[in-house]
């Protein structure tokens, strides 16, 4: 864990009546270092929060937005839930799978993109949606999806 990350985490503690409240925000900060949280970092976080490493690992593996294995430089996620599916979300994902030559849950061999599907993102009125590194791309069609993905470095 970098010193700067640690300092940021230290400043979070006062926001919560108990130290542990800062765990999720802290894990985001640690994850920002290399795109996932490894075992060494998890142990460091555990020490900082005075909890066991297994408790940190439980939290990391419970939530979709934390990763314990390396991810691609960009994360591309499609909502596969009903409102998006009704408007072609899953078809779109299949197109992108073919385009990138990988399946959802995989990373391109060059480490550029990790592709996945996730649950409802709250864009039902602007479906289908693709989430790229935290940004929403809504009312999407296959061509726009390809264009956005191809522009990723």
């Amino acid at each position: 864990m970098q010193a700067a990350t640690r300092e940021k985490i230290d400043s979070l503690f006062e926001r919560y009546p108990q130290k542990r409240g800062a765990l999720l925000p802290a894990l985001y900060l640690v994850q920002a270092e290399q795109g996932f949280v490894d075992q060494v970092q998890a142990r460091e976080v555990a020490q900082l929060f005075e909890i066991t490493p297994v408790e940190v690992w439980e939290v990391l593996t419970f939530y979709n937005m934390f990763y314990t294995t390396p991810q691609g430089r960009h994360q591309v996620y499609f909502c596969a839930n009903l409102p998006c599916s009704l408007r072609g979300g899953r078809s779109l994902l299949k197109t992108v799978e073919a385009h990138l030559g990988i399946h959802a849950g995989q990373t391109t061999p060059d480490g550029r993109i990790t592709l996945g599907h996730e649950e409802c993102l709250g864009s039902c009125g602007t479906a289908p949606i693709m989430r790229v590194d935290g940004s929403y791309h809504e009312n999407l069609d296959a061509e726009a999806a390809r264009r956005i993905i191809d522009a990723l470095e």
């Binding site: 999720l24 009903l82 009704l86 408007r87 709250g122």
Partner: protein, 430 residues
């Protein structure tokens, strides 16, 4: 991105206006008038006002807000807290996102009124992790409120009324929308719901007395204080007063949000959304977010309030209306729904952990044409083993849609078993 509902009302009148997100712009459009009204009253009077307004929570369960506030211990040697449930994750719901993106100060004003009423010193706004823009907008609003004296010591110059707000990001788990799953998550744990009792008002976030309200619920509160109970009760129904933001998605011409009085007929909402897309016929509607049982075209005359929807075996939930046209394979719908609940079950209770996975596997197999009559018995029975028997209502939410589908669209399932394949080639792709 949606910037305003297709139909606006008192809540969303200024949503299209960027200035509404700044304190000055908000004040200029009537903002904080409800707060000053509240601060001129005794806390108990504020609770009574909200109680008599009949405001019901907009997070899905529809509990009376004022009553919930009254559960907070009046005197407590422990700090009291509020939690704003901004973990909107119910498939088909996207209203809270709009409120936070376009009117974060409405939410904060509602929070401050609730804080005054309940004596809470701190609020945690738990926003689902994917809602990055909401988090940013709320944080901007919180920072500006601090600068302008709407947060901190002596809120709005009211001596002795201190309040602060922490915007907290979730990390991707539907179950954190459940009140106590949210509290666990806020405490830095897995979002696994708690056994009740104790209830949050006694033992909530970090063991402190806590009241949890949904984003939209907070947003309505300033208007009730500013304009009065009688005004509020003019819209909506006797049992469900006020407006709500109905979200319409799926096979309609004009999906989006519609601020309409509770009790508006579903057919009217569908008309406002331009009807079924492409002029196709309607097959099914899920009226209140994905946890709620589906209804048939013959039932769309129903008025959209809990008291009417529950009469026909479904619920208002979060008011997320999902529309399916004649091409739709209801077994595929069952696959999507059951996958979601399997994926999002927290895994604590036996019935939920095992039942959601079992139902999903059976649905998938039927869709592949490998189902049997015995599978229909399983789909008819297993939801009953789950419903009402677990720590939280998630298992109910997983059971109800399957029960609804089996009740109203069993022929779709039977057709798959008979044809040994999906007989709806034109349906949305799985």
């Amino acid at each position: 991105m949606i910037t305003a509902p297709h139909v606006t009302g008192y809540l969303s009148e200024h949503y299209g206006d960027d200035a509404y997100r700044t304190v000055a712009g908000y004040e200029a459009r009537g903002g904080f008038a409800g707060l000053s009204q509240a601060l001129a009253m005794q806390p108990q009077e504020v609770i009574e006002t909200v109680k008599s307004s009949g405001l019901r929570g907009r997070g899905g369960a529809g509990f009376t807000t004022g009553l919930k506030w009254s559960f907070m211990p009046e005197r407590s040697d422990r700090v009291k807290v509020l939690v704003c449930n901004a973990d909107e994750s119910e498939p088909g719901s996207f209203k809270d996102r709009l409120i936070m993106e376009r009117a974060p100060l409405q939410v904060l004003e509602g929070i401050l009124i609730a804080a005054w009423a309940t004596g809470a010193e701190r609020t945690f706004i738990y926003v689902r992790g994917e809602y990055q823009i909401c988090i940013a907008r709320l944080e901007e609003a919180v920072a500006e409120c601090r600068e302008r004296g709407y947060l901190g010591a002596n809120v709005a110059n009211k001596r002795g009324f201190a309040h602060d707000v922490v915007v907290h990001s979730g990390a991707g788990a539907y179950i954190c929308g459940e009140e106590t799953g949210l509290l666990e998550s806020l405490e830095g744990k897995k979002g696994q719901p708690r056994n009740k009792p104790p209830f949050p008002a006694q033992h909530g976030a970090f063991g402190l007395p806590t009241t949890v309200n949904n984003v939209e619920t907070f947003a309505h509160v300033p208007f009730i204080l500013e304009r009065g109970v009688d005004w509020f009760r003019q819209s909506g129904t006797e049992k469900s007063p006020g407006t709500t933001l109905f979200g319409v998605s799926g096979h309609v011409e004009r999906p989006g949000l519609f601020e309409l009085p509770l009790g508006t007929p579903l057919s009217e909402i569908l008309d406002l959304a331009g009807g079924v897309a492409g002029g196709r016929a309607l097959k099914a509607v899920i009226p209140g977010g994905m946890s709620m049982p589906v209804i048939s075209p013959s039932e769309i005359g129903v008025r959209m309030a809990e008291e009417f929807l529950s009469e026909i075996g479904t619920h208002l939930g979060t008011g997320g209306v999902m529309v399916m046209d004649e091409t739709t394979c209801m077994v595929r719908v069952a696959c999507v729904i059951s996958y979601f609940f399997r994926d999002e079950s927290c895994g604590q209770c036996t019935q939920c952990r095992e039942g959601t996975a079992w139902i999903h596997k059976v649905c998938e197999r039927i869709e592949r044409g490998r189902g049997s009559a015995a599978d229909l018995e399983v789909l008819a029975d297993v939801p009953g083993l789950m419903e009402g028997q677990t720590i939280c209502a998630f298992a109910d939410a997983a059971a109800w849609p399957i029960q609804g589908l089996m009740r109203r669209f069993r022929p779709d399932f039977e057709a798959h078993i008979q044809a040994e394949k999906c007989p709806f080639p034109g349906s949305f792709e799985l």
